[in-house]
């Protein structure tokens, strides 16, 4: 059948799950190959995963996928049945096959199912070699569209409309007929649908009542059917009782005169000559079956019940297979993401309105220990619980992402000629779906970097007294309401002298600048910085850690780096659990309340008069400790009436590490706000990332500091201004930071 689009979606979702199970299993196989105890559950599970992908792919006519899965499955079947034993080489091959299968699934999802993919073909050859079989030819397409179990009968087809033929059918079922759920009456009904049917019973096999098994069959039938349908229609009726019955079908007209010995017609004629004998014996003992050879009526079988008494079906003798304990079927339902987002949105409204009610209650002077106050308290707790639980719906375990990273490390190690192992931890940690999706690219880059730049080659490692195989660990943990992902390698650590000299070379820092170790490490995040002397095939690609940092920031994350010489480097990424709410600072600006993400603000300053120096009609700077920072008047940026008082400055840093002081009137509060998209409802506004609704019902815009700054100051001018101001303001210092938010 051709799958409907939604079933197609299901198929690819299921593929993801199966590939995940496959990867899990292969990790066990790898452990097993290096001496760990075998888990008997692993091989069948791996086999099933690939087998199910093949099955679904077949239903959608994805032949390239089917073929590859089949070759893969064959090796797994050998492993499953102990005809092969896992070796490290085989484990590597299986991993590669798993990776290729993943690629093919991805390609199929994108509408590409290329049966001539050379890499897939090469790998299929390797798989076939591993399973001890010659590589399959293109024609040998097991698992494809054909019906393997069915051997075509090659018999004449009487098209409907031709004159009716009388058939005599000798139907001699074995005793176990009923044990397989067959009912002769059902067969006769089906035959009756083809034409007038006469049924005669032969009871010659009936034993003495004492030895008769009431649930077995001892009856033979002699049927006469007159039909315009061909022999194949009759045979189809009997298809499922093959092997359970002797069946003789003879076209009556042909019965008498023909030679009794089967020399008449080989049955492959079209039968239109009228003289053909439409006769076949259907006796399917599967491997040896020769159904294409018709047996003439005279050669009736001597043994009427072929598979009879001796071969009692296991079914009737077998003990019940399993106790009827109740295993919970997977207790999950699948829900459209849109519905979840709708729910999240509604809960966002709920939270906002709850804040509004709280404000009204306060204004009305309702005491919090009154009945209303206490009731509201319960309401508020419930609201926040609902909010948490709804957010949790969008949360997904980070495991599939981590599994992809295992592959990245394998590939990176192969390309760079190093040996590396990835150890993952905290795979069950759940993060917002979108965060996970948008984390994939930066994380990939970080891991490539870790293999390429972090780890030393085997000789260097051994010389340093380390194991030749480099270890990269990838972990996820919850830490104070955020998720922290760490990538640690046990390599040589950052070569700070080299980093510093490169930074000087590229004019990123002053040669005389005194930098702490941490500051040097941070240079890696500067745009265009690359420690590799030549851009390597791997982590190069023209992308630096600055891009990684920006990608992380875009999902509300922060990234930091720690390194110890000779011991390795650790990158920590701290991510919000959700993108639906934001920790923000509520500020006042020219009578408007706005929100600025707390993660963007390095510190807040309260400048004294004289700390701010005008360097032109529109420009001013403030000196913050040893640096001079341009002041950005947000009121002006957003075209608000009037100028901000600049009583409070928010120090922010852009991706280029340029610092700016955003001038605002006051800080009102710090709170979690529900993010409401602006672009969907209005349009993009420069310098604004989204909006939220405050407790008093007013809408507050959420500032995107990066963009706001770029709106304010043409960078060259700002730099010139800063330089000029640096000369001008030798000694004045603003009052120290009001509070450090970060």
């Amino acid at each position: 059948m051709s799958g409907a689009p939604d079933i197609r979606t299901t198929f690819f979702q299921e593929c993801d799950e199966l590939l995940e199970a496959l990867n899990d299993g292969l990790t066990s196989v790898q452990d097993q190959a290096s001496g760990a105890d075998a888990d008997p559950e692993v091989m069948p599970a791996i086999f099933r995963a690939v087998h199910s992908i093949k099955g679904g792919a077949g239903a959608f006519g994805l032949n390239a996928l089917v073929r590859f899965a089949h070759a893969f499955e064959t090796v797994l079947d050998h492993l499953r049945s102990d005809r092969l034993s896992p070796t490290p080489e085989l484990a590597t091959l299986l991993f590669r096959a798993g990776d290729k299968l993943t690629d093919l699934v991805t390609a199929a999802r994108d509408g590409q199912d290329d049966p001539d993919d050379p890499a897939a073909k090469a790998l299929m050859g390797e798989l076939a070699a591993a399973s001890g079989a010659p590589p399959e030819s293109d024609e040998d397409e097991a698992g494809g569209d054909e019906d393997f179990g069915f051997v075509p009968m090659g018999l004449p087809v009487n098209l409907p409309g031709s004159s009716p033929t009388r058939y005599r059918i000798a139907f001699s079922p074995s005793r176990r007929l009923y044990a397989n759920g067959h009912d002769p009456l059902v067969l006769f009904e089906a035959l009756g649908a083809l034409g007038p049917l006469e049924v005669a019973v032969e009871t010659g096999r009936l034993p003495d009542l004492g030895t008769l098994e009431p649930d077995e069959n001892y009856i033979d039938w002699r049927l006469t059917l007159e039909t315009e349908q061909g022999l194949d229609a009759i045979e189809e009726v009997f298809e499922f009782v093959e092997g359970l019955a002797e069946i003789e079908i003879c076209a009556e007209d042909d019965l008498p005169e023909e030679e009794p010995d089967g020399g008449t017609d080989d049955g492959t004629d079209d039968g239109q000559d009228g003289g053909g004998e439409d006769t076949a014996k259907v006796d399917d003992a599967p491997p040896a079956a020769q159904p294409a050879t018709p047996v003439p009526p005279a050669a009736a079988p001597a043994q009427p019940a072929a598979a009879s008494p001796a071969a009692r079906p296991p079914a009737s003798a077998a003990a019940p297979a399993a106790p009827a304990s109740a295993p919970p079927a997977s207790a999950t339902i699948r829900v459209d993401l849109e519905r979840v987002d709708g729910l999240i949105n509604a809960v966002g409204e709920l939270v906002i309105h709850q804040a509004m009610i709280a404000q009204k209650l306060t204004e009305a002077g309702v005491a919090w220990n009154s009945d209303i106050g206490a009731g509201f308290d319960v309401f508020r707790n419930l609201t926040s619980e609902i909010q948490e639980r709804v957010m949790a719906i969008r949360a997904q375990p980070i495991k599939p992402l981590f599994q992809r990273m295992a592959r990245i490390v394998r590939e990176a190690a192969a390309i760079s000629g190093k040996t590396a192992q990835l150890r993952t931890e905290g795979e069950g940690t759940e993060v917002d779906k979108t965060v996970i999706e948008r984390l994939a690219e930066p994380l990939t880059h970080i891991l490539r970097n870790a293999v390429d730049h972090g780890l030393e080659n085997a000789e260097t490692r051994v010389a340093a007294g380390k194991k030749p195989t480099g270890l990269i660990s990838l972990s996820a943990t919850y830490r104070s309401g955020r998720v922290v992902i760490e990538v640690a390698d046990d390599g040589a650590g950052i070569n700070r002298e080299r980093v510093r000299s490169i930074a000087v070379e590229r004019g990123l820092i002053d040669p005389a600048a005194e930098l702490s170790e941490g500051e040097i490490d941070k240079l890696l995040f500067m745009p265009g910085f690359s420690t590799a002397s030549e851009v390597s095939d791997l982590s190069g690609r023209g992308v630096g850690m600055d891009v990684v940092k920006r990608a992380i920031q875009q999902i509300g994350g922060r990234i930091s780096i720690h390194s110890a010489a000779g011991k390795g480097t650790t990158l920590s990424i701290s991510l919000p659990l959700t993108l639906a709410v934001l920790d923000g600072i509520l500020i006042e600006l020219c009578g408007e309340t706005m929100v600025i993400p707390i993660t963007a603000v390095i510190e807040t300053l309260r400048p004294q008069p004289g700390d701010i120096h005008a360097i032109g009609p529109e420009q001013s700077v403030v000196k913050v400790r040893d640096t001079v920072v341009p002041v950005v008047d947000l009121g002006q940026v957003f075209g608000l009436s009037g100028k901000s008082s600049g009583e409070i400055l928010l120090l922010v840093e852009t991706e280029n590490r340029d610092r700016y002081a955003l001038a605002v009137d006051a800080i009102r509060d710090q709170s979690q706000v529900v993010i409401k998209g602006l672009e969907g409802n209005y349009r993009h506004v420069a310098g604004i990332s989204a909006a939220t609704i405050l407790g008093d019902g007013r809408i507050a815009l959420i500032i995107d500091p990066e963009e706001a700054v770029s709106q304010a100051v043409p960078p060259p001018l700002a730099a010139a201004a800063a330089a000029a101001a640096a000369a001008a303001t030798a000694s004045s210092q603003p009052q120290a930071a009001l509070s450090s938010v970060r």
Binding site: M1, G3, A4, D6, I7, T10, Q13, E14, P44, A45, F47, R48, H51, S52, G55, G56, G58, A59, G61, A142, G143, D145, F148, G149, F150, Y178, A179, N180, G181, H182, D183, L185, V186, E189, A190, D215, V237, E239, F240, E242, G243, L244, D284, A285, P286, P287, P313, P314, A315, S316, A318, A319, P320, A321, A322, A324, A326, P327, A329, S330
Partner: protein, 126 residues
């Protein structure tokens, strides 16, 4: 009254396909995720026909068939095996376990329904 079919397959994709095809054809469809789940659901769903996959976790299709055949009330229910297996001995194995018939994946709706009708008889026609 429409015929009740219990379809057992560990693949969600195949389950959804069976459900779609059979429901459209007017059958009352129940689904189970593996052989054990199938045995557990026999009683509550009282199927007229069962369709089962072979390769499944917990309890495979053969195990399911044997389990069902060992039960007084389901020893004669038609059970169709749904499989991608190409092994020549599959039909024999399924038959030995007590299967009534088989459907080869990928199946087309017409063949699926005709196979059900063939084992369920005229009961399936309405």
């Amino acid at each position: 009254m429409s015929l009740t079919v219990l379809a057992i397959d560990d693949s969600r994709t195949i389950r959804e396909m069976l459900n779609a095809a059979l429901s459209e054809a007017g059958f009352l469809v129940h689904l189970a995720v593996d052989g054990q789940d199938g045995l557990d659901k026999l009683g509550e769903t009282a199927p007229d026909v069962v369709i089962t996959d072979i390769n499944m976790p917990k309890l495979d299709g053969f195990g399911f068939i044997k389990g069902a055949r060992a039960r007084q009330d389901y020893c004669a229910v038609p059970i169709l095996v749904l499989t991608t297996e190409s092994a020549a001995d599959l039909k024999a194995r399924a038959r030995d376990a007590g299967a009534t018939g088989w459907i080869v994946k990928p199946f087309d709706e017409m063949r699926l329904i005709s196979a059900i009708q063939r084992v369920a008889g005229l009961r399936a026609a309405g």
